[in-house]
């Protein structure tokens, strides 16, 4: 029986082909736009977060107690070996790096600026957050004697220094004297993590120890886990284990990014709701007219023994076919578009000055999440089913059987 009903439904849609196509097109276009928007916006948001995590916070960071509020050399993480032992033993943790940080001054013959001096281990950083991928100029190396320095891109621009140029770093050391180092620029990094691009000066951790007179200890240990889902659990456990340290997940280190992600989710949800409500209104109009213009036809079907349930099935099936066709076209179109931008990215280089001000990459790579397609399917199904409820009620009240004898 269902096959017969399906055939009737298909034939009815075919009889008003242009109209059916319009509805399909409407759903497809709105879905296409929505998918594109979600993928690109999420891509942007995640890119921000990814940049911050890779270049700085990791999934989790460990600091000495109170360091975040009042950074200083006296607040260095001691007993590093002990911590490292725990981190290495935990198989949820992918990698960790230690960094030594102190605020100071970077100077050339002409300019000087304040800077955040980071003592880092380049190889470990590369394994940890692929720091080398952010390199814009020069090499990812401090040279044989470790006399090289890698600068944040904006800092380099403001200092007007290029590769091979000499700079002087000065900072307060452990003994509260100012000590200085002369180094040559070997590389320039652009992480789009604004704080780093604006201030960061990366030198070898051993050079940093030399400058700061700090033979051991670290300011920060950045940790990456294998599975992002486990961040809260790992953070909790480490926090309990090292009660005398501050163990913080990336989202409390970068609250603005976390907030941005949540706002984006709400924003996407509202937009989707609005779009599907309006699209539902479109389906409603078409189904209402399609039911009303077939009153006579339904009357005849009822007269020859079709049940109202079966007629309801026809109407539901029609609406569902419209929705599903639109969904398939829209998903395909949207999926392909997102795939393109996932592969090649959306290039907004022409606005690079503006994007820089936001700390955005010039090329945004779209995200493709299965959830986009699943929620869209649920929304389309919901919209198609809800939008025939009223036409069906009207159909029931109109007593189609009486319509047979009307002209």
């Amino acid at each position: 029986m269902f096959r017969v009903l399906l055939r009737i439904a298909l034939a009815s849609l075919g009889r008003r082909l242009s109209r059916s196509m319009l509805v399909v097109l409407m759903i497809a276009m709105s879905l296409w736009g929505l998918l594109f928007m979600e993928g690109i916006y999420d891509g942007m948001t995640e890119q921000f977060i990814d940049n911050a995590i890779r270049s700085d916070s990791g999934d989790i960071s460990i600091f000495a107690k109170g360091y975040r509020l009042d950074p200083g050399l006296e607040k260095a993480i001691e007993r590093f070996d002990e911590i490292e032992h725990v981190l290495t033993a935990d198989n949820r943790i992918r990698s960790h790096v230690r960094r030594l940080r102190q605020d100071g001054l970077i100077a050339t013959a002409h300019y000087s600026r304040n800077a955040a001096i980071y003592g880092v281990e380049l190889e470990a950083e590369e394994r940890h957050g692929r720091l080398a991928s952010y390199l814009r100029e020069g090499v990812y190396d401090f040279g044989k004697k470790g006399r090289g320095v890698i600068l944040g891109s904006r800092l380099a621009a403001k200092m007007k220094v290029g590769l091979g140029k000499k700079i002087i770093l000065s900072a307060q050391n452990r003994d509260n004297d100012v000590s200085a180092l002369s180094l040559r620029v070997t590389g320039i990094l652009k992480t789009n993590n604004m704080a780093l691009d604006e201030n960061a000066v990366f030198i070898g951790i051993d050079k940093a120890r030399e400058l700061l007179l700090l033979p051991a200890g670290a300011s920060q240990i950045s940790i990456m886990v294998h599975d992002k889902e486990e961040v809260p659990a790992v953070q909790k456990q480490l926090a309990a284990q090292f009660a005398n340290l501050d163990v913080m997940a990336w989202n409390s280190l970068y609250p603005a990014l976390h907030q941005g992600r949540e706002m984006m989710e709400v924003f996407n949800l509202i937009t989707s709701l609005l779009v599907f409500c309006v699209a539902g209104l479109g389906i409603f109009g078409v189904m209402l007219v399609s039911v009303l213009e077939r009153l006579r036809e339904f009357g005849i079907m009822l007269a020859i023994g079709t049940t109202f349930q079966e007629i309801r099935t026809i109407v539901f099936v029609e609406s569902f076919i419209l929705g599903l066709s639109g969904y398939c076209c829209g998903s395909l179109l949207g999926g392909l578009t997102l795939f393109y931008f996932y592969q090649y990215g959306l290039d907004l280089t022409m606005f690079s000055a503006g994007l820089d001000a936001f700390g955005m990459d010039a090329i945004t790579y779209a995200l493709i999440r299965p959830s986009y397609f699943l929620t869209a399917l649920a929304a389309v199904t919901g919209a198609t089913l809800i939008s025939v409820l009223v036409p069906l009620r009207i159909l029931q009240k109109a007593r189609p059987i009486e319509a047979i004898n009307k002209i």
Binding site: R19, S30, F36, N114, V178, A256, Q259, G260, G285, A353
Partner: protein
């Protein structure tokens, strides 16, 4: 006759009319308000960013922006002062000298900016003085008194009345150092700025830095900020070619463009919503026009020209679109006006504003009648435009087919 006829049809086909009016009104109100919100917030952010410190117009030595070294200073501030002083349409102006130094407190040393300003003139030009949170602002008689950012003071662990020292380079490349006493602390809300900037009276600065009659730039406040570009251009005519006057649109190009990018994404989102809405309007027009197919056939049979039928159907769309656009425009404009007077306060996104250096969380919407009319016109065209396809399609049907249309 056709207007009358169209009115009757609008009343007779109530569903289509209601949906069209509702959706077009909603869309128009949405666009008008969204534009007002985006323009308003962008204007506010830019205004804040400009007024806190950089100023609407800056005059520098012509190479300074490219290569801000001590070789590219304004070495005859008096000459610039004289030229700028003669130009009309200017509310006020002052010289500044910016340099980077290392500050050292009792416990800490931190790099930062030390700028010599003309305190009393500066007070009228930027928001430095009004951002005071502790102590007092500078005056023209001050000597080694420092007016510093809140975050910088916190990092150096100094308070009003405390002493600290600085080490830097004088205008003649000489070594410059002195002791300073904190006179006041300010907080603009721009984190980076508050964490690195500090100011002294320029007459004192000139002595310690050997910078008499020098300046790194002048800032100029136009009587009407909208004239910034015009005045900058005019000044470039007045000033020696050695100097360059630039409006905030050039000096803050990044931020201006960032706002543009934000608008583009805003309009992108709106257009996704609008696509669906105009599709729905199209579909409802389609349904009504085809429901009236027989009627159209009869009209054609009794001698109505295809062009007249087109005119009649378009008249309906135009009337519907016009009413809704006016209604939507009024709603949107009313909202825009209300939130123009009572800015929207975004407490929840303060972190983000701070991150982008936008010290503002109260955003007024823009109320610009011309922009509102433009948006209304766009919506009118879109609304009428989305009904054209069904109308043209219906008009192509032959009268005989139309009469027998079921």
């Amino acid at each position: 006759m056709f207007v009358n006829f169209a009115m009757k049809n609008i009343r007779a086909y109530r569903n289509r009319s209601l949906v069209t009016i509702l959706l077009t009104t909603l869309t128009t109100a949405m666009l008008v308000f969204a534009t007002a919100f985006m323009d308003g917030s962008h204007e506010k952010m830019l205004q804040n960013a400009v007024e806190i410190y950089p100023g609407y117009i800056q005059v520098t030595q012509k190479d300074f922006r490219q290569k801000p070294s001590l070789d590219n200073l304004i070495f005859d501030a008096g000459a610039v002062r004289q030229v700028v002083g003669q130009r009309s349409g200017i509310e006020g102006f002052a010289a500044r000298f910016e340099t980077f130094v290392l500050y050292a407190g009792d416990e800490k040393a931190v790099g930062g900016m030390l700028t010599g300003i003309e305190p009393e003139e500066e007070q009228k030009l930027s928001r430095l003085a009004s951002s005071l949170v502790d102590g007092a602002y500078l005056d023209n008689q001050d000597d080694n008194k420092l007016y510093m950012g809140y975050e910088l003071a916190r990092r150096l662990k100094v308070q009003v009345g405390d002493h600290l020292s600085f080490v830097g380079t004088g205008a003649d490349y000489s070594f410059a150092a002195d002791n300073l006493q904190v006179k006041g602390v300010f907080k603009t809300g721009l984190f980076e700025f508050d964490a690195s900037a500090a100011f002294v009276n320029k007459s004192y600065f000139n002595k310690v830095m050997a910078a008499e009659n020098y300046a790194s730039h002048f800032i100029i406040l136009p009587a009407n900020p909208d004239d910034a570009d015009l005045i900058a251009t005019a000044l470039n005519g007045d000033l020696d070619t050695e100097y360059l006057a630039e409006s905030w649109r050039t000096t803050m190009e990044g931020l201006v463009q960032a706002m543009l990018v934000d608008s583009i994404f805003g309009y992108l989102t709106l257009s996704v919503i609008f696509i669906v809405i105009f599709f729905v309007i199209l579909i409802y027009t389609w349904l009504t026009v085809f429901a009236r197919m027989r009627e159209i056939g009869v009209l054609r049979a009794v001698g109505t020209m295809p062009g007249q039928i087109f005119k009649m159907l378009v008249t309906e769309s135009v009337l519907l679109a016009f009413c809704s656009v006016v209604l939507g425009g009024i709603i949107g404009a009313a909202l825009a006006y209300y939130f123009h007077l009572h800015p929207i306060y975004f407490s929840f996104s303060e972190e983000q504003f701070k991150q982008y250096g936008l010290a503002a969380s109260a955003m007024p919407t823009a109320f610009a009648p011309l922009v509102i009319m433009r948006d209304m016109a766009v919506m009118f065209v879109l609304s009428v435009g989305s009904t054209l396809y069904p109308i043209i399609k219906a008009n192509r049907v032959k009268p005989i087919e139309a009469i027998h249309h079921v």
